[in-house]
Symmetry: D2
Subunit: 336 residues, 4 copies
């Protein structure tokens, strides 16, 4: 059964808007950052990672964002281009903004944290008039990410992009990706998450992220069905609620909750799991696969990323994901 | 025919959210402000003026806003209370904000301007968690005003109020009241005006204000019908588009454009015309009058205010408006 | 005995740098501001008032400051020019700053307060490169005022002016005029007051103002002699410490404390007393009078101002001050 | 001849105030930063480097500064402590500030640049009331650095420290260390550099830095003698003006310009040269050596640092510097 129809005539498969930054991943892992002496540089940011994942799967992709006018910004643009991601709408800041940084600390595979540099960052300076209507008009899918709603003018740029996507019939995906820094208050967060979510076709988030959005609503038992039902009253066709180790459930308008198989992994760190899952799932849905198969493909994709040192650079090809699934099915992969 | 149904069981007729400020009106008029030596102090702000107008008509009213912790703020609260407007949700700022000021300059009845003090003003510091759900739950009507969308956290407070009004079934009125100061860019303005307008039942604005909102849409001929039609696709039931001296037109979902009689006035200044028109019109609609009769009542109410020195303090009673209309009908009032 | 020598060859007698603002004085006095309905507009700001006072005494004066590009700013420039104060270095702001406001509340002759509007004000936006070296080079006296040190870039403009005054041999007067608003902390205040005071020839302030500056020093008994002695180690020649009703004492490097006669007044409000005292005293010193006679002239000048409704506009001529002293000496003036 | 006398009875040799940050030095050198993949983390900041240098020489040292409440801040505090630098006055920020970063790019030994992260940094948030008078009272030397003057409240903290140093008789050293970022304008910079320099005993800077300070003075030929003479009129005893490859000259109040031998080095990068020179020179002066010997010691110390990958961590011991000088004298070291 088809839950979402993608406009087949559009030449571009996928465009995302939002954060582009640099991950500085600790090379000496399993220790506190105080004792880490060297870091390796990668492109980062949730929508950037997802777009890189989609490009690795062979889709035609583009990005809408803003980079600093410095060596870090140029590294990001160059990396996207080398991954065949269209950067015509990646604007260079001229106000002296810097590139956002995320230093990762890997104390153990399950105890990971991030030290963020988010003051005066270029990605939050994208303005609504810089968003290309033409680019969105020729894309099947627009993905937005919650972090880009955290500050003006990036916030308005996202709403502008939503307006264009609605106008031109793109399928809209909202990766909630809630991170408290840069937000002023929980109330502010909930207001804009809800305004954006009302306009989206596919929502992906954790139970905690949906709870944050429901702070003004009546769902005292944190029921997934109540949550999904609320969004079906607006534009949503698929609502994925992630429950960590217990797995994810994809709700559809027919009231069905879809679950899928998960796979073992030798975990290095947990960063990047959500982004690679999102890329794998969306790829499957765009191929016309069942939700279950799409979710399984997302899970396997995530397993590959969390077994690696980076988020973006570790994004697999479709062949690698299929291969991983087969090896799991043959019992060749065991959890760490 | 009834275009909007008000929830009769609610005890409060009308609540407005937004700007509360001080007007300092030139006493020596028909000259530039440089030559004005004394000023008279009045309560001001578009939603405040409309609420005062509704209270003068005998309705049960309340206000949601924020005042400075100083003499000006206390003057405002006291004035509202003396007009029997409920102030339980008029919050006092504790951060050292000041009361917004509007010095009026009346060079001639048709050449009026305003010198605004809008830095660090209390009214824009209302936060979403300060908005009383309980108050909105017991009100038939919520009026929002565009100025309160101009900055955070007041912007989020308005969206919070809209959420409560939707949840509890209040009729929502949007007085566009667009003023460029405090807004960062036309794109930012259009984004939030549109997000708010999508949730409203009655929209009132000038042709220029609707043009500002339509900057991303296709309405090259500035057609009122196209404009109104767009909003009927969302929540709107009545869209009033004001054309200055050519009068206003009220569009309804049945495609009809309603016009009404206008009245002569001996104009002192033009300030306050829109606020008194809005109060008069809404009062009429809430009485169950036809749109034509409601609009005429609004026009006559506006005539009384623009013949006076103040905006708020000159708001008439219903009896005074009826009397004005009768005198006009008898030919006793002539234009200045 | 001469304590300070003024460079006689300079064509300009007096230039001041700092705050230019608008006073809005309550017309209905002896009541709280909540009940005041009308206000009268005057030029205000301590250094502006002193300069107006000096101009009324017939001296050749100029002002260094910044005004808003609006009706209030133009009113200020016009008023200075009508008082024959040179405004070649009164710069017009182009960033959208406003004119500072001071609403006065006169509950009783001895219970007066001020409601200030000091956000985004033009006077604090004067930059060091806008200060005219040429103007200071041709002036006998430079007067600085503490309020202008409260924020950048006005703070740096004052230090720039001090540098020029030192370089060209102007006598430097520091009217402490400490007002807590716009300052971040007492420590910040003390740091800049001390850095400025080290370069000044004549210091005028209240005991409380000198205490604020001495927060890092050892003067536990608040001794005037210790205070004055500290500044004589830097550049000071005369230090005037004001003790309110107990009168002022002028300390000189020879260790003498000079006191002078005071006069009765029918007090309307206390605002403006310090500014008119400073103008009167400096005028006397520049005439070569004894400190005692100069202080008495300052006191009489202050009596005239506090018996009137305004600060700036009430500044007397020298003839009026002499006349007031004579009338006092004849017993024709009695205190209110 | 002794040019400066240090208060021998004080238990602490040296305290510095100012910037504490993290250097992230490119591991893959001789290429643009876009192509650098990994970075090594070091403690950085000019006054921190100098203090580490002094500690390596065996002096009793302390630091006055502010660190972020995160892993980077804790790494800095720990590194200082491991170098036996007293950190009782290294305050931890509680406002969410971050640690300043400096990514170094080494395109070639002579083409080095830095990418700075200076938004919302902890070191500029040190307040005047956090500066320990007691610590300065027991120190022979206070070193200040220009960067700490760039913003409030750190700016006021430095002036506060200068006040305490004057009061308690510490010798004050000013390492100009001018870096344009974070300063608003050249005028602002010159104002505060001059106010601080007036109070200092030893000034160290490049010809360009002294030119920046003299923008309001008459020294059209950029004469070192004129520059030095100006500061001798205030508090200065020694003024060192650095002319890059042409070497440095130390001016003393007797009008003499002292020059010293320089040494060859196999240069990896130029960063850190000034800091190690300052540490070496001050160490020599505090030992009672001639200025010539002290300057030579500083030069050799700098040679060691620029031959290494880091600034702080490469600071040599006195024995290593003496050894380097001997090897140079034996012809065993040749330039790269």
């Amino acid at each position: 059964m088809t839950y979402v129809t993608f406009p087949a005539e559009k030449p571009l498969d996928f465009v995302a808007i939002g954060r582009l930054c640099i991950d500085l991943n600790a090379n000496e892992i399993n220790r506190p950052m105080e004792e880490t002496m060297t870091f390796t540089k990668y492109v980062g940011g949730s929508p950037a990672n997802i777009t890189i994942g989609m490009a690795r799967f062979g889709l035609r992709t583009a990005f809408i964002g803003k980079i600093a006018d410095d060596q870090m910004g140029r590294f990001i643009a160059d990396y996207l281009q080398r991954n065949r991601i269209e950067t015509s709408n990646v604007v260079t800041d001229r106000t002296g903004a810097v590139t956002g940084l995320a230093f990762t600390e890997i104390k153990s595979p399950t105890d990971c944290s991030i030290l963020m540099y988010r003051d005066n960052v270029a990605d939050l300076k994208l303005t609504p008039d810089e968003v290309s209507e033409e680019l969105i008009a020729r894309s099947k899918v627009l993905l937005i990410s919650g972090t880009a709603l955290a500050q003006s003018p990036s916030r308005e740029a996202v709403f502008q992009a939503l307006h264009y996507a609605k106008k031109h019939g793109a399928v809209i995906v909202f990766d909630l990706d809630y991170r408290p820094y840069t937000w002023t208050s929980p109330e502010e967060t909930a207001v804009y998450y809800n305004l954006a979510a009302e306009k989206c076709d596919i929502l992906l988030g954790t139970r905690e992220e949906f709870d944050m959005m429901e702070r003004f609503d009546a769902n005292p038992e944190h029921s997934d069905a109540v949550t999904a039902g609320k969004w079906f009253d607006y534009s949503a066709k698929i609502v994925i609620i992630k429950h960590g180790k217990e797995g994810s459930i994809a709700y559809t308008q027919d009231g069905v909750g879809h679950r899928a198989q998960s796979y073992p992994a030798r975990v290095v760190k947990t960063f990047g799991a959500g982004d690679s899952y999102a890329a794998g799932f969306l790829y499957g849905v765009m191929q016309g696969w069942t939700l279950e198969k799409s979710m399984a493909f997302g899970s396997a994709s995530a397993c590959i990323v969390i077994s690696s040192h980076s988020c973006s650079d570790a994004m697999p090809t479709a062949e690698q994901v299929h291969d991983y699934i087969e090896r799991c099915n043959r019992g060749e992969v065991t959890a760490s």
